[in-house]
Subunit: 405 residues, 4 copies
């Protein structure tokens, strides 16, 4: 396809080396105005500090920074938790959940500034390009999309540094950066370096958010999470906003080395990658949420909820947030989550988060069955009838086979 | 239903208080010969020692003890592991998997001794009665089934002790036994006592197989598991039989407090129960198996395997082992498992089993993609086309909606 | 269990032989007042006419008849259609959907008249007892339940006629009734007689609602159905209430022999049964609804909707209407159904209902793709990239295997 | 990507206008030898007659025609039938199943003749390109792939005719061809023309294989299908090869107008298309197979088989035949299919195929339950216990809620 005409483009800007190079590159290659956009999804102040100046210095005409922290937790993280989604049985979807809210805000900025194009700094081998562009397709099919990594012929940090140096654009980035990381309120991810060999154990320097379990306190802590209709509303009795509750959980869990994960996963684009993740608060939150579910949901409901979670994990990972399928699965999950109210105590110790107490006004567990009157609720003699009918098809099959021989 | 006529009954006998009382009760109430049967599924020598004498002394005419340890691991545990089945996201199905093999062997004894009935000591409120009788229905629909707990009017250990005392049958059982436990090569379960309150943290005395993580060694150990076509064949390089490999894993993992679980679960019979489980080797085995899957199975395969595991977890839990559905799911899982060959290193530390290394000749992960030649395998420019088509329905929907307005 | 004490019981009364005998039997056996209750779910006036007098004559103290026709169609049938549920790939769930609404109304009557028990005339081998009592358990766990067919020792129509004759209670029922039938606005079912042999083709006298396709008009008719958010709102352009729309469809379809079904199905209670069903309007409605879905839902949405339908078919068949699972699945299905607006033309001819035209404002189908501008939406060159990434794991696997050899 | 170097290419050749133009185009554009390959998958002699001469005349150096009819039916169609796969609830996958066997044979020819590339004539907007190239990726990742429709700038039949005329290559193709069709032993598909408007009813000239139901015989026919372990082995008592059995079924069903289908479907590449299909024998075969399943499979098995079919329908449609997922699903389906033995009679009348009789040695249906002795198999009193436990969680929930208020 021929190169599109562009007047103004909104770039998802992080201030890192890649997007710093993208600003001049866009201007040179598309002869357009570049508006930088950064979303605060809880990645930490160090990433956001001085971002506007940096963007303008690098050539952006404007820089918009939006605080999406509470929305991210309320509208993306908690709903996903309600589905129980865990990608490939392990990954808590930290990066995946952040992309749609960033893309959505980016589109909003584009509308506001009258841009005709969107740009992101994702590489051509990863999932994030699909997540961004999937969102763009759904929210702004009329806007053009530029993905420099798929277009330019730079292939390394050295190439980018050279590019900037030639243009006399200052950068604090160094040529050697071992790991590629992505952080937000929910997690941080790490790729690259020795992790590229799945037979290689991650070194200590991989991890940045949590203490090493071996260095964690010798004494366990216990934290109490309180849920109302599937949403975390208090930590250790303190009512907190969704985001603040997560921040608090992160602090408590990280101190005990909770939430580290080291996996090989299937990318949407057909290849495998090895990544390490730290999701301290999220690990505790997910464990607590599921413990309440175990108290509240009956057998068939819980099984179906597991199916919803399996489907949703792929949907989120695969960048299909803005689709009718998301609305359907979430509606199904929320119907269950309305019952998920109660308290859970989680023990934190040396990397482990262990649920040790749970209670709910909607609990179906009954310690003392007699409170219903044994006769009214469960008569052991009922079991015979149950078993006879429950296994009736097996019995008939066996009798038939006997008769056939 | 009127009481059936019975000549000879084979009892699943454990030597515990319940089945000790059942022997005289059967003889008195059915005027029949009682053959005791015990399966060695790895529950430990202390349970099996002196069992025959005890059975005969209590009134059994014969006592058959069958060593099922290797068969249990080969034909029940490893196939279940291949499906990835974890009941309600947590329980590794230790008791559930043991029931069908015990029931099957019990039927074989019944055929050998010419019995016309089968008896078990399961209570009327649990899952095990369904698992035993489901197996009986499939394997011996012609044999009668006696479930004393649903029939007699004894309700407590005191009642049973009185019953035996009146008949001058000695027992070493005491009136006070806090927890109800079930052990085999894969796990031990604990119920009762303070566990009946889900808001109560398990006390130290609950656990019997694993050391408390807080008392576990300060130094981590690493264990290497080698798999061939989905089956564990070596531990730390030593080729071991299926059962011996599991025994070795149990020993290593238990020393680090690995494999404890404390959950509320949905019983098949409609109520919830709270149980604690220790599955030290199994926890390590399952983690290692899944780590290899992540290296070997592509995205759609892994998702389908997760569906198989979800279905199989309920099948096993619900006592449907001897059904066509088991054959179908296992056939599907084995087709994948044929690729699951390789090594995994698991770090054991303070209750945690963490996969830190994995490799496989069938790995789809490629550290150095260039080995295939970048052009031959993945061209970043392909991503644009992929994304365009992948999100095409979102784009069309968005354009249509725009057009509609 | 010992016989419960009962003062007043509400009986689901049809006026047929079974429930006619149940009234005196309840009074004799429980020494209680019997309130008859009948639901008008569209089974036809002949069944309802004179019902009150008959009930009082037979010994009931009161007779309540509730018109549930519109609610049945709005709140049970249309939601089920939205899930696409078809039990075992064939059965449109006519009887299954009616039981929960009848049971719910029966409970309401029981509350109003201050009854302490509920009674139904379902046999002990069928699904309906589970559906009634499952609803009772969820809606009125405090009320006692009487199921005469599981209690008394009558086993045939002759027994019942004798029973009534001895009590000089008149009945118009005859000793010979070949088929057991159940009718409502959605369908009529037929069991018994020669149908008990699945190798026997149903005779002409089985069918009561539809003309034999071989006797249907030589000329096809076409009917247009209009949907708004998943609900049928007009037939051939006439806006009709939910129930009236179904009545109209029934009339049109029955005249062409549409909606006959002859199947063997798995009952919930473990045995198989053979039944014939006539669902003329429902067959047309379901076909039309699905045709709109094909126009509106994208691939992943439609696949998930099929999963919802599979789950929901079992839920409804198995009598689990009043459960959290129903709420979850319906919420998921309704999220999709909000898009299902448009018109469908169905051709009716000699037993067949064939969708021949469909249109929707939410259609994702685009006849003339160029309206979006070919470049903007789909560039054929995109397909290469799509295919490369889509099949990348296959390629890697093949290359790896080649390398391994 | 730059144009690859090619010496010899094997083209999937049909003799139609497209692939006739591709031969000279390949030679001109790649300066390579072109080997034509055609698979006989039962599309009919008229398509195959004179094919070799035509290919050579058009410029091919060789023409290989392989008879795949029996393999197609045995190894692709019958296994797919065993899974019950029906894409989006309607499409019987005729074209989808043929692509992998053709691609596999094409690769075999390429190996034999020492080709370094493969070529197909599929357009860039359809599914078939993905199916071909997905198979190529799995079977011959080392071979280059040429897809002329995505490369050249011809866009219409006129363009192709011009192209051939300029090169003085004769063709019998005409400029006006309304419908695009694809035929094999299982079906024929039709696209294009008035079908591009889903609100337009197909005209009579669309259909080529089946008589119009309105013109079909006034008298119904009945055909008996006999299955052995899931495979059709006899028609009306005549044992036939897999392919011959299908041919016979096609003949019988087509005469009664059976097997027409008119749908809008979701293509894998993200757009919708409207197609008409004729699958006369396949429609009868699928109906008969499922009728036997209803007799033989228990409830949970049948539900799982429906899930397998849903997954498999997408797998086949999406061109994932040569993947581990196919092996897994098929292994699961075959485990069930081993029981599917017996006879089914299907009535053919005016476009309808109605199962009217079915029997199987493995049937779980029991006409006369008494043959097992009522007491041994089903005691109506068992139902109470079944229902109590089956609805126990509903009862507990209701009691809890009452207690909460």
């Amino acid at each position: 396809m021929s190169k599109p005409q562009i007047n103004k483009v909104v770039l998802a800007y992080s201030g890192g080396l890649d997007t710093s190079a993208i600003i001049p590159w866009l201007k040179e290659n598309y002869d357009c105005e570049v508006v930088a956009f950064a979303a605060d999804v809880g990645q930490g102040d160090e990433e956001l500090e001085g971002l506007e100046q940096k963007a303008l210095r690098t050539g952006a005409s404007e820089c918009h920074i939006m605080d999406l922290k509470e929305d991210f937790v309320s509208d993306y993280i908690y709903p996903t938790v309600m589905t129980g989604a865990v990608y490939e049985g392990q990954y808590l979807l930290g990066t995946s959940m952040a992309r749609p809210i960033i893309a959505k805000a980016q589109v909003e900025v584009a509308r506001k500034v009258g841009a005709d194009a969107l740009c992101h700094g994702c590489t051509g081998k990863g999932n994030d390009q699909v997540r961004f562009e999937g969102a763009f397709a759904a929210l702004a099919p009329d806007l053009k999309v530029i993905a420099p990594w798929r277009e330019w012929d730079m292939h390394s940090r050295e190439d980018l540094l050279d590019y900037l140096a030639k243009r006399k654009i200052e950068t604090s980035a160094s040529a050697t950066k071992i790991y590629s990381r992505d952080a937000n309120a929910w997690h941080i991810s790490h790729e690259g370096g020795e992790l590229e060999d799945p037979w290689c154990e991650p070194s200590k320097q991989v991890w940045t958010l949590t203490v090493d379990p071996e260095d964690a306190p010798e004494r366990a802590d216990r934290v109490q999470l309180s849920f109302d209709q599937g949403r975390l509303v208090a930590v250790n009795g303190d009512r907190l906003s969704p985001y603040q509750a997560l921040v608090e959980l992160n602090k408590l869990a990280a101190a005990h080395g909770v939430g580290r994960l080291d996996i090989v996963e299937n990318r949407l684009v057909g290849m495998k990658s090895r990544g390490c993740y730290e999701t301290p608060g999220g690990t505790v939150l997910m464990a607590a949420f599921k413990a309440l579910e175990h108290l509240v949901l009956d057998k068939t409901s819980l099984k179906f909820r597991e199916q919803l979670g399996l489907e949703f994990s792929h949907l989120v990972y695969d960048g299909r947030w803005f689709t009718p399928l998301r609305e359907s699965i979430l509606a199904g999950a929320e119907a269950f989550a309305r019952q998920i109210t109660g308290d859970v105590v989680v023990k934190l110790y040396k990397g482990q988060a262990t649920v040790v107490q749970r209670r709910s006004p909607n609990s179906l567990y009954s310690e003392d069955f007699a409170t219903f009157g044994a006769d009214d609720v469960y008569d052991q003699s009922h079991a015979e009838g149950f078993i006879r009918l429950y296994s009736l098809s097996s019995r008939i099959k066996a009798l038939k086979e006997k008769g056939n021989n």
